[in-house]
């Protein structure tokens, strides 16, 4: 395959742009503790265990397996794992530039969607290695197979991709319904294709169920993949309020990118309804596919039910495609003009931190606070010692230890809907915190110093730079106790 000059230029541009944006926060160890939980749970594979067997985090097993692979490739180097995420984003941008080319072939329509996605995700909210990026990667594959020829093999691959995506994030199962709808709409109602899609979707799931059944963990598997996600429905959540909070925050971040977001939404609505104005309208199936996927990704946000910004990543991804269907040169020029201003703004904002990080690239991992603490603790920890961590769980990752509690993610201790299920299955006790302290682990890491721990001494951590510990809580104090 021969690449055209402008394609190469775009790939280089996208590569450097991803580096400039993403590297600006790589010096901070924790951008979101979700990723720490993925990493800690993923290490279970290395111990010959499966996720949910002794450690619980509320994501499907394929995500942990991929994070385990990242850990192997990088030899447990968190900084390199962050770079893998940058590479995933870069891959997504390349795939975006090669999607939906049937009716729109201009350079504008080819390169606008990836640049818009790059801008939408330029804020630090979207810098961590969220599971949504991996989901997007598999959904982009599904889009590519769907836009290829009409063969049964491609339908099979679409189902397989969505199946894999749903083993990374359960909510992605919604996209199976979307693709069934899209395929039957664009190719005419076809039962065989629908059955093929559903069967290929089931393959990764059946494989995973077999692995868990073989290890007598089928109860844990269904608890984690069905019962807990369904419990999320019971939480009170307002879609409009959550979107309002996001819009306000986005507008505060960058008004130009925000206006691009509004233009994309407006154009999506306009083009969707405009079809119905004309009597003999013809469907632009590629555009309709994007409309369906945008609606599904909003449903994904609604069903996730927590209002976290990263749950909107899928919506931002699909929305980025909408303006590629703009016809009039004047309107294209307006979009390009706003994109240019936005890019200048984003680069001005991120480049000082990026260049500082690039100059200091050799020391980034060594400067991570929890990494330094783990290095110092390594000599005091023996193979049989246990650790109970409820806040900076990266300690578990660096020391390659499971949490003494079944729960890995610190936030889950406060999710009543989850803890109730785990108590029901006797995975945790009613007072999990107290119970784990009573087990007297070698190290206890807490988010408070209000609990008296007589037989423990507090670890001296003043030598670390607490600004590098967590992006969102700069004055995060460490409360690490070691058994006397």
């Amino acid at each position: 395959m021969k690449l055209k000059a402008n394609t190469v230029i775009f790939y280089l541009f996208a590569f450097f742009q991803v580096i400039i944006i993403q590297f600006s926060t790589h010096h901070v160890e924790t951008l979101d503790w979700d990723i720490n939980a993925f990493l800690v749970t993923s290490l279970e594979f290395g111990r010959g265990n499966l996720p949910y067997e002794f450690q619980y985090e509320n994501k499907p097993p394929l995500l942990f397996f991929l994070f385990y692979l990242f850990s192997i490739i990088t030899e447990n180097n968190l900084f390199f794992i962050k770079i893998i995420n940058d590479f995933i984003i870069f891959l997504i941008l390349i795939m975006m530039s090669n999607l939906y080319k049937k009716n729109v072939k201009s350079a504008y329509s080819k390169y606008t969607p990836p640049i818009l996605f790059l801008l939408f995700t330029s804020n630090v909210w979207f810098h961590p290695n969220y599971s949504e990026y991996l989901v997007i990667l598999f959904l982009a594959l599904a889009q590519i197979f769907n836009n290829k020829n009409d063969s049964m093999f491609n339908i099979f691959l679409i189902g397989l991709s969505i199946g894999a995506a749903s083993l990374i994030n359960v909510g992605s199962v919604l996209f199976l319904i979307s693709f069934i709808f899209i395929i039957n709409l664009t190719r005419g109602v076809n039962l065989l294709k629908t059955v093929t899609l559903c069967c290929s979707f089931s393959i990764p799931h059946l494989l995973m169920i077999s692995i868990y059944a073989y290890n007598n963990l089928i109860t844990e598997y269904f608890m984690a993949l069905i019962e807990v996600p369904l419990s999320y429905r019971s939480t009170s959540f307002s879609l409009t309020s959550a979107l309002t909070v996001f819009f306000v925050a986005f507008e505060n971040y960058n008004s130009y990118i925000y206006s691009l977001l509004l233009i994309s939404i407006a154009f999506l609505i306009y083009k969707t309804v405009d079809k119905f104005r004309h009597k003999n309208y013809e469907y632009d199936y590629e555009f309709i596919e994007i409309v369906i996927l945008c609606i599904t990704s909003l449903l994904f946000f609604q069903i996730a039910g927590k209002g976290y910004y990263h749950h909107l990543l899928l919506f931002l991804y699909f929305l980025s495609f909408s303006t590629k269907w703009i016809n009039k040169e004047k309107n294209k020029f307006i979009i390009i003009f706003i994109i240019l201003i936005s890019l200048i703004g984003v680069n001005r904002q991120t480049s000082p931190a990026t260049f500082s990080n690039l100059r200091n690239v050799d020391n980034i991992q060594n400067n991570y606070p929890m990494f330094q603490i783990a290095l110092n603790l390594k000599k005091d920890i023996s193979k049989d010692d246990s650790i109970f961590s409820t806040n900076n769980i990266l300690l578990l990752y660096y020391l390659d230890k499971p949490n003494s509690s079944y729960i890995v993610h610190p936030a889950l201790f406060n999710y009543q809907e989850v803890t109730e299920i785990l108590v029901k299955y006797e995975k945790i006790k009613d007072d999990e915190l107290k119970d784990n302290i009573q087990k007297s682990p070698k190290i206890i890491e807490l988010n408070t110093d209000e609990i008296s721990l007589g037989e423990y001494k507090k670890l001296e951590t003043t030598y670390i730079d607490s600004n590098l510990l967590n992006y969102w809580s700069k004055n995060n104090l460490l409360h690490i106790y070691i058994k006397r």
Binding site: V248, A266, K271, R277, K328, K330, N331
Partner: protein, 184 residues
């Protein structure tokens, strides 16, 4: 036959257009009534006792809810009120209530309902777009006039209930209109 049908449809649309203007006139009428009961901070202080005993009587028309008049500081805060199922609260939106004078300081509330106002903006703009571009109810000039005056009315009249989403809804509506006119 075809001509008669066309004529009939045209008449029906004309009626719908008149209905729109009638609805609009009612809005403006209520607006005028409220503006007449406008809560003038400067003048109201003089006969504060009479005013403070009233509830939802006075419409406030100021973007600045904190003021200093002579030696009296005035501090109003926004208070969201439910309009469903308490429909009578509808008349309270944009009006002042629960205010008292204490130590040369007047404190009170301005009643707001952001969700209702945003829904009004959304429905008003969407209905106008549908009426104009899909049903051809009114001419381009009348459409622009209606959208312009309607949105100005909502934004000025219900100023304290407006938030960023209101501006978003307006911006997106205007963009959709722009695309209908300049992208087709």
């Amino acid at each position: 036959m075809a001509n008669t049908t066309k004529k009939f449809q045209k008449n029906r649309l004309r009626k719908l257009e008149n209905l729109l203007y009638f609805f609009f006139a009612i809005l403006i009428f209520f607006g005028i009534v409220n503006v007449l009961t406008y809560f003038n901070l400067k003048e109201s202080i003089k006969d504060f006792d009479t005013i403070s005993s009233s509830y939802c009587e006075y419409f406030i028309f100021t973007p600045s809810l904190q003021n200093q008049i002579e030696n009296i500081s005035i501090e109003f805060s926004k208070k969201d009120i439910y309009v469903f199922p308490d429909l009578q609260n509808l008349r309270c939106i944009g009006k002042v209530g629960e205010f008292f004078l204490e130590d040369n300081q007047i404190k009170g509330h301005v009643y707001t309902n952001t969700k209702l106002v945003n829904l009004t903006i959304l429905l008003f703009n969407l209905s106008q777009i549908v009426f104009h571009y899909f049903m051809r109810v009114h001419s381009k000039r009348n459409f622009y006039t209606l959208v312009g005056i309607g949105n100005s009315f909502i934004f000025l009249y219900l100023y304290n209930s407006i938030n960023l989403v209101s501006f978003n809804l307006l911006f997106v509506s205007l963009l959709i209109i722009y695309f209908f006119d300049y992208e087709t």
